[in-house]
């Protein structure tokens, strides 16, 4: 069974008298362990598609199933809970709570899951070590570089033990070295832990590392290719 499955997915925006089909009939299946990039020019509908898959937005047509469960019928509260338990998020920037330290930021999501203090601290430390920030546990986001902040966000996304991680332009604000470092970490987590990653990006450095590249244009899938590295 695919982790993510969309069927004839559609999201229409009414902008004044103009109707924008941001996502226009997308059928998609993503399996466990994939490392997929959704690519396309700005305005092609990548973010909208990711938001629909992540349950942050409701489709105007079609449906999204996560691990076999149709999420379109969930109430707001159920949806928030579903995201907490099943989906990891990494956004373009400012992912973190500025007043909490790195380790507290990672712990925070497990706190929402009502995990014990001991387990929270242990797993948060372990994950931050895994993303190479073992020596930055008690630093606030403001004291970390952009790349380090994104790595904390990845650690947080994994902390809740999600089914998959959605990352919308995670490298958009990073320099080459930080980008390479972040991609290395995510590729390793994909390889070693079989974590599923889905990116929305137009960053060539990300596309180069993806194992599957889905190209969208005007809300439609143009091509879908698997790449062997």
């Amino acid at each position: 069974m695919p982790v993510i499955e969309t069927h004839n997915l559609e999201r229409v925006y009414q902008d004044g008298s103009q109707v924008i089909k941001a996502v226009d009939g997308i059928d998609l299946q993503i399996d466990e362990g994939e490392f997929t990039a959704i690519v396309g020019p700005s305005g092609s509908g990548k973010t909208t598609l990711l938001n629909l898959i992540g349950g942050l937005d409701k489709p105007t047509g079609g449906q999204v199933s996560i691990a076999g469960e149709n999420i379109s019928d969930l109430s707001d509260n159920q949806m928030i809970n579903f995201r907490l338990e099943h989906i990891g998020f990494v956004f373009q920037a400012y992912n973190l709570i500025p007043v909490l330290t790195a380790v507290e930021n990672v712990e925070f999501i497990m706190l929402l899951q009502k995990k014990s203090k001991v387990e929270r601290r242990r797993r948060a430390t372990q994950l931050l070590e895994a993303v190479g920030l073992g020596d930055r546990l008690d630093k606030k986001p403001g004291e970390l570089s952009g790349g380090q902040q994104q790595r904390v966000a990845v650690a947080r996304a994994l902390a809740s033990k999600p089914d998959f991680v959605l990352a919308d332009e995670p490298t958009a604000n990073l320099d080459s070295a930080s980008t390479a470092n972040l991609l290395d970490i995510m590729a390793r987590l994909n390889r070693e832990e079989n974590m599923t990653f889905v990116f929305a990006t137009h960053d060539q450095r990300v596309i180069d590392r993806a194992k599957r590249i889905i190209t969208v244009e005007d809300g439609k899938i143009k091509s879908d290719v698997k790449v062997d590295h």
Partner: protein, 406 residues
């Protein structure tokens, strides 16, 4: 961690938070000082009037309070006295016989209020002996007269001089007597200090031909603040066709009204003050919520329930106000304590004269009634929690996708 988050969020914009907390601090400080002074002045008035003259509750023969003559006196009936004493919450009763006479030394004459008293009980409950200027308080069967300071001065009388009382007694008998001055007392109420003189109860009964009669039983409550409830239970217990039970609020409605009118003026000022700081707090909440839209979007996206998120914002506002409240309280406390123990003396100024005219000691001791700080802290905290519901409302209608696009 929610608590930690709320607390740390306060310090994200230190300057703004400090300004907000400071405005709360000053508002509370001002409110506490103002109310302590105001309520302290009222407490003082009440203590002056209630404490030295009427007492908290009195029992009279029916209609005495309106007529104020000996014809409406009552027999000192042991079963009545017993009934009052056995009422729950009553500590003691003090009998009094009250009337008027002309006082004269031959050279000068002046109308005087005469109060027949039980000297021991008056001393015990009304600090009667406190104001003794010269001579001594008479014993229970003393034959002398005690003059208020004003009367003694008017007649230029000293201890052991003599004074004649001329008047009318019970059922119209003539009531004349000649008395040695036993002593002079200064009464706290300047009004009473000008015209009151005391005899023992027995002597007054004899003078007025009112054997075993009194005009009032002053009821001493165990807890002064319970006087309204006690009034009611006395009313239920006594025969209200023959007796009237009145508490000081009923005996002195003008005083109650004056206090209420004055207090209302103060409350209007406080209302305006609270309105002003409400705008300040609301401004902070407004800016805070609009700055954090993106962050709230992220937090709901990763799975934080709206209720929990709203709670952190409410707590943040609450803590912020609490800082101001604690600061205001700590700042006001020493001042209030100081003015409680060192009351402001209005002295001979215009205000002081006005006070004296109404029969009050011309001082304002600050009230240390803990309910003042409790009430105003609660009001301020309640206002800020109420205002933070704006943020709660924003959070409930927040759409993460929209919030993060901005």
């Amino acid at each position: 961690m929610i608590l930690k988050l709320a607390w740390r969020n306060i310090w994200r914009n230190k300057r703004r938070s400090l300004i907000t907390a400071a405005s709360v601090l000053f508002a509370l400080f001002f409110a506490l000082i103002m109310r302590s002074m105001q309520l302290g002045a009222y407490e003082n008035m009440i203590r002056n009037v209630v404490g030295v003259s009427t007492g908290y509750i009195q029992v009279h023969a029916k209609d005495f309070w309106d007529e104020k003559t000996l014809e409406y006196s009552m027999e000192r009936n042991p079963s009545l006295e017993q009934k009052i004493l056995s009422t729950e919450g009553v500590a003691d009763v003090v009998p009094r016989l009250e009337s008027f006479s002309l006082a004269s030394t031959g050279n000068a004459t002046k109308a005087a209020a005469i109060l027949g008293i039980d000297p021991q009980k008056e001393t015990e409950y009304f600090d009667f002996d406190n104001g003794l200027q010269e001579g001594e308080i008479f014993a229970e069967n003393g034959k002398g007269i005690l003059l208020s300071e004003g009367l003694a001065e008017y007649f230029k009388l000293k201890t052991n001089d003599t004074l004649v009382l001329i008047g009318q007694g019970y059922h119209g008998v003539s009531a004349n007597g000649k008395y040695h001055v036993n002593g002079v007392v200064k009464l706290r109420s300047p009004e009473l200090n000008k015209r009151l003189a005391f005899l023992t109860l027995k002597e007054a009964q004899f003078l007025y031909g009112a054997d075993n009669r009194i005009t009032s039983f002053v009821v001493i409550p165990e807890r002064e603040n319970d006087f309204p409830e006690l009034t009611e239970s006395l009313r239920t217990g006594l025969d209200t066709a023959a007796y009237e039970v009145m508490n000081w609020r009923e005996m002195m409605p003008e005083l109650v009204q004056a206090i209420q009118a004055d207090s209302a003026g103060g409350l209007v000022m406080l209302f305006i003050l609270y309105l002003v700081i409400s705008f300040g707090i609301f401004g902070t909440i407004l800016m805070m919520t609009s700055e954090r839209q993106y962050e709230y979007g992220i937090l709901t996206a990763i799975g934080m329930k709206r209720g929990k998120l709203a709670l952190t914002v409410v707590m943040e506002t609450f803590f912020l106000s609490l800082l101001g409240v604690i600061g205001g309280g700590l700042l006001a406390l020493p001042l209030v304590l100081y003015y409680h123990y060192n009351p402001i003396n209005l002295g001979g100024g215009e205000m002081g004269d006005a006070y004296e005219e109404y029969g009050f000691e011309p001082i304002i001791p600050a009230s240390i009634d803990p309910s003042i700080i409790f009430t105003h802290s609660t009001i301020v905290l309640f206002i800020s929690v109420l205002l933070s519901f704006y943020a709660v409302w924003k959070i409930y209608y927040l759409q993460p996708v929209k919030a993060m696009r901005s």
